[in-house]
Symmetry: C5
Subunit: 356 residues, 5 copies
């Protein structure tokens, strides 16, 4: 996951004019896709436009307009929107420079949100992380994404089919719905991580290998990254909840509190994961020690039994002329007896010491 | 204990309409059981109803009504109650989606609490964790549980037999009693954990095995889970205590402060357990090292004594023609003497080094 | 020390009516001992009463009355006092249920304090921990202890002999004196622990054994327990200092601040101990590793020198017919020379590697 | 990086009069270089002066004046500026004594900032750290640096070429631009560190050596030092943002908030690095253990197989007269068979134990 | 350094009357030395008095009087000063009971400070720690020290020679100067510690021995002790800065803020040291592991090569009659060849495994 990327992006920016509109991030998309959904309780319209100017007609209608922009590399489009909707240049800069810390800014005439959307793509089994910026105005929501594909499909369905209360509510409820969808998507990621933890724990106690170590290390890094992305969310949602902006109606407050509760739950879970993973490394070390111990014991037992016996055999392999034992007929079987008893005594000693 | 479950539940919800009533959690019960207890200082009535509508008659009596619902999968019942008692859809959602973080919400006409009830079942020797939601209104308390079986039996007894002051007090005192029972139940769990710690500690110092390691790891996870459940409780009770809701009378304040003190004590104990357990792993590692050390010592002593002796024996097993020592009649006994002295010196050296 | 006990007591209580007066704790004493000290600047009276009613006459005198009760199992006495002095049932419950978290409650007509008294008994070399509850009223202080024996003897002496300003001051100064005596007693315990640390440290670096490990572990647990007892004290004394109760005169403020400073010092010292002890375990592990290393070195040196030599001896012990070396008269002494040189080279190598 | 230096400097100062102007730090530069840039929206002038008095003419023009001073050892110059611009002696002291903690001071007539500039020099591959002090007055900014070379070149370009809004704004915007350039430069350092981490991680898991250990240790120290430099920045920028100084215009607020966000991001990244590096040491230890384990296994297998076999060979090397086996013609090949089977059984056992 | 001492002192005090004047601490000095410096902008007088009463004449002059008292065991003197300057008994107690936590108390007519002075004595190479108490009144400063010798000599020089602004300022500036001298002295200690760290680090990576371990442990304890002494200083200086006492003039505020900044810097450095030292132990453990690993490798290589060869030699040392190989003339040289090839193969294997 992209911690390093984020730093790189910022260092690319170093030295640019504040407010310069240059897209920092990978160009994920060929052409920018602009989708407009315009609705109120009774009517609904959805269309994909090619020129950004086609959106502007919706600005003055009393209906709620949701403009979604996939792809940030065409800075001209962003600039045009910025001019038309009177958005501060630094906000536009934040939209384009992906890798922002989640934040909330109240610019009186509009509210600006930027946060991370995490999506688990089933076919490739990877986590896609994308910066989503939201601008909420009096009768519109503009959402900026780096790439096509998001977690908002069910919201679109609800608008299309007039399910739930979304068509009856204002743009602040739409913004809440988008936020809620993003926070909900974290739970999916957490669940995947939870499953990974469980798999690792099994490996850990049964068969810890270097691969397990690498997995724990990677997992820890992911948690650190996730934590860094999610902690600022708390402040963000708290900020919206307690803002006195006229753009957010009182009735939406209860819903925002609900998202806030979910965010706290996500944070709690990430913290628990952190605790568990930091414990895992200790377990790993202990398991490795245990394993080494087991190996050592075998070596010790074998060596301890045979080293003295080998010495005895060595003694009677000496070539001294005057070794009277050698000539006794019972000496050889007697020696065998002695050696077997010696081995037996040692085995008994190890047994008593619980080394066997 | 169910950390993972909780995450899963939330990810199941992902994409649903906010306020959609779907029970998320295991269906623990076949049929929903509804019990009503209606009382004031002088009269008392308890009955089990089959239709939720049978409860509604109690709404307008001046007596305190306690409706307890075991089983959450029949969303229709919850919806009916919600409609009748005018409860916000998001509250109903929280009741149904088990795995909530403990919280307190003041909705003016009623107060909503959700928290975790932990119960130790003696026959199966397991901990049962269940989400309990409480709705406190002007003259009623509604409690929602996932399953039959709870820690409230003694409260019911007190109401039935008019023991203590419960029959003389309002529904806020009933809510306090339920809270108190839940917090008290944590002490039972903590005691069990305390006993487990003591057992582990003995194992730890005397006979640390891989099983001990696994136990410590599991224990640590349980503590992490417990901590996550209990910390928000502090906020919850603090919230009730400092709320300015008319539903809570001043006289109940002292009781709530008492529950608060108990909660702090529970948190303190969990933190102590955490500290102790995190120390245990270090002790485990040390014990393992000690054990390995002991094994190493034996190997070293045996090897160090016999390796040189075996070399000597090897020398006089060589077949050179010109080895004058071999022909001396006293050479063999002299060699034995040398070897015994050598072994003795080495033993003395190890003794002085405190390796024996 | 009694962490587990405390949990047990609370779990015994689970399910009881709030305000039920049952003594939870070990019955340490056969009969309850009640002592009354009544004094003002000019007169002084001390007596031991058998019936609690004998104390009540002092209530209406303008003199300061100190009622001390040793033994909590006779709940009837506590109940009578409660009734006579109009004490809230939950306060009485806290007095009886030992194992409370230190706390301060302002009940307008009286102030309630509960905290832990630690006493080092010289003859048995053990730490006695006892819950002390204090009730401060307009002209009285009632102190409840679990057992005979306390740290208040010097306060009694001062009252008897009119030493210092105690006889000139009100009951709030008496309460302060009791608090001060308890906090001072912590220093005695800390000094004992400090000495223990010093002993352990010597063991640690010179001769670490499994016993040392156990000592560190026990010490750590004691520190955890102590910490849990002492932290809430800070809040407690802070609470009294900043309370606006009429029962505490302004002139006592400076004294309370003094106790507060001492408490902070106790906490600081406990935290330092915690830091030191947590470092000790690392030192222990390092020492063990060092020791193992030393053992390993000896083994390696002996084995590394003799294994090749033994091999050479083995070669010339072979029985091949065609081994021309065997027949050379200088072969045997030459071999000795070779072997000695080989051993010398290896010793030099080990010396250079700093293994010797 | 210079943690020790910083302490040394302060101890050099110990005992000096407060406000004594002595430059503490390495004399990095031969002669002091003074550069003046004077601009407004329409005109622009840049010149290098040799006498500080030549700057003073700019004081009374309405244009924005930026005086940059490279080199701090000529205390006379600093003193003259201090006198002319009426700067408090303690501020001058702070400018000269490099190794200050980043801070912000509002002296009503001017604002004083001191912070650390980090610069990565590509040719030498080293990080240059320099203290930068900024004094912002009504129509001027004075910047003090220890040495020639900084991260401000692009700001100078923008002023020269009237790029962006800098020429239209006041001196507070210039100060913001300098701050922004410094914070941006941290990202470059962080990126370098991020790359170093990645390299170390590869080493760590594949081929951990003592050099890796030293690298981790050095890296950790750098992080500790960086952290110490960057944390106070948060306070600093927060201080400017919330100061009510007339010197900072409202329009600059949004820009300062932007720098603040970047600072938080830098801090977050440093904290993540800290977490990752602290985990690396554990990984290192684990890798070392793993490696040792692998070595041990080989030793154990070889020794365990051959020690018993060597014993058997030793037995039949004994010289007893009565050893009937020696005379059997099939004894020798049979023994080989026995020995091969024995070795095979042991290999099978090790395979099953997963030691091979 | 004296952590234990401090505890001991307090336990000595246990049971004494609050406000009892007994000097707790080592009697470091035979006779008490009293020095008076009386000055204003124009005149200056310094004398050493034998009777404390000789100081009292200065009380009513408008000049600034600095009474310095070295030695605390003569409680009579302290008591007389206390009476004459109207100082609260608890303050006198704090002056005498050394080992206090640094604190600031505003008693309206005077300000009381107590803190730790650390001094590095060059001849004995030891750190001298001494409690310094300061009482600041309307026109006087009284300083109490345990022993002769302090860090104030340069302040005395400045007063004597009218250097800087000290002679022009009031007693609050004198108090600031004393504080500043004490905080500056910490930097000297930190520099020494910094050098020690550097030395330890070299040892750590090159040649870690048990002595290094002991050094790290001692260093850690010193840091813990230092930290405990310095943390409360922050509060102390913050307290003075924000106090509304008339005794401190506004002009002194900037100077106090300067001391505050230095204190923060000291704290930051101590925290960094703590971080570095806690990392050192890990490095130590790793180095020890590395070393052990190196030793193990040599053992493994030697043993692994020679154990099989010795076995082969053993085989041909057997005395079976039917061993046809023994009679082949080329068997012996062939065996040598086999053994050399075997050794070579093993060496190659170890090389490939990077064990060599």
């Amino acid at each position: 996951m992209g911690k390093k990327k984020q730093v790189k992006r910022n260092s690319q920016k170093a030295g640019l004019l504040p407010g310069t509109l240059i897209h920092i991030g990978e160009r994920k998309l060929e052409t920018v896709r602009i989708t407009v959904i315009d609705y109120d309780e009774n009517s609904f319209q959805e269309k994909q436009v090619t020129k950004i100017e086609d959106c502007f007609e919706f600005k003055n209608t009393p209906m709620v307009t949701w403009i979604n922009i996939d792809g940030l590399h065409n800075t001209e489009i962003i600039e045009k929107i910025g001019k038309h909707y009177d958005i501060h240049p630094l906000v536009l800069e934040d939209i384009l420079h992906t890798g922002q810390r989640a934040k909330f800014e109240d610019h009186e005439k509009y509210i600006f949100l930027v946060l991370m959307m995490l999506r688990f793509e089933d076919d490739t089994q990877t986590v896609i992380s994308e910066q989503v910026s939201l601008v909420l105005g009096a009768n519109y929501v503009i959402s900026f994404q780096e790439d096509i594909g998001d977690v908002f499909e069910q919201i679109r369905d609800r608008i299309r089919n007039a399910k739930g209360r979304i068509r009856k509510m204002g743009p602040d409820y739409l913004m809440y719905s988008l936020l809620d969808a993003i926070v909900d998507s974290y739970f999916v990621i957490l669940e995947k991580l939870g499953e990974e933890i469980e798999l690792m724990e099994e490996d850990l106690l049964r068969n810890p290998t270097e691969k397990t170590l690498q997995q724990i290390h990677n997992f820890k890094r992911e948690i650190i990254y996730l934590r860094k992305s999610i902690w600022p969310l708390r402040e963000l949602i708290n900020g919206i909840e307690h803002s006195e902006s006229d753009l957010i109606q009182d009735s939406t407050g209860a819903y925002l509190r609900d998202v806030y509760d979910h965010t706290i739950q996500v944070i709690d879970t990430v913290e628990s994961f952190r605790d568990i993973v930091s414990g895992m490394l200790d377990i790993y070390l202990s398991s490795i020690s245990n394993r080494m111990n087991a190996v050592m014991k075998v070596l010790t037992i074998i060596a301890t039994i045979f080293i003295p016996l080998t010495f005895i055999a060595g003694v009677y392999g000496m070539n001294f002329e005057n070794m009277p034992e050698l000539r006794l007929w019972w000496a050889y079987p007697a020696l065998w007896l002695v050696m077997i008893i010696l081995a037996g005594v040692m085995l008994y000693y190890f047994k008593r010491k619980k080394w066997l």
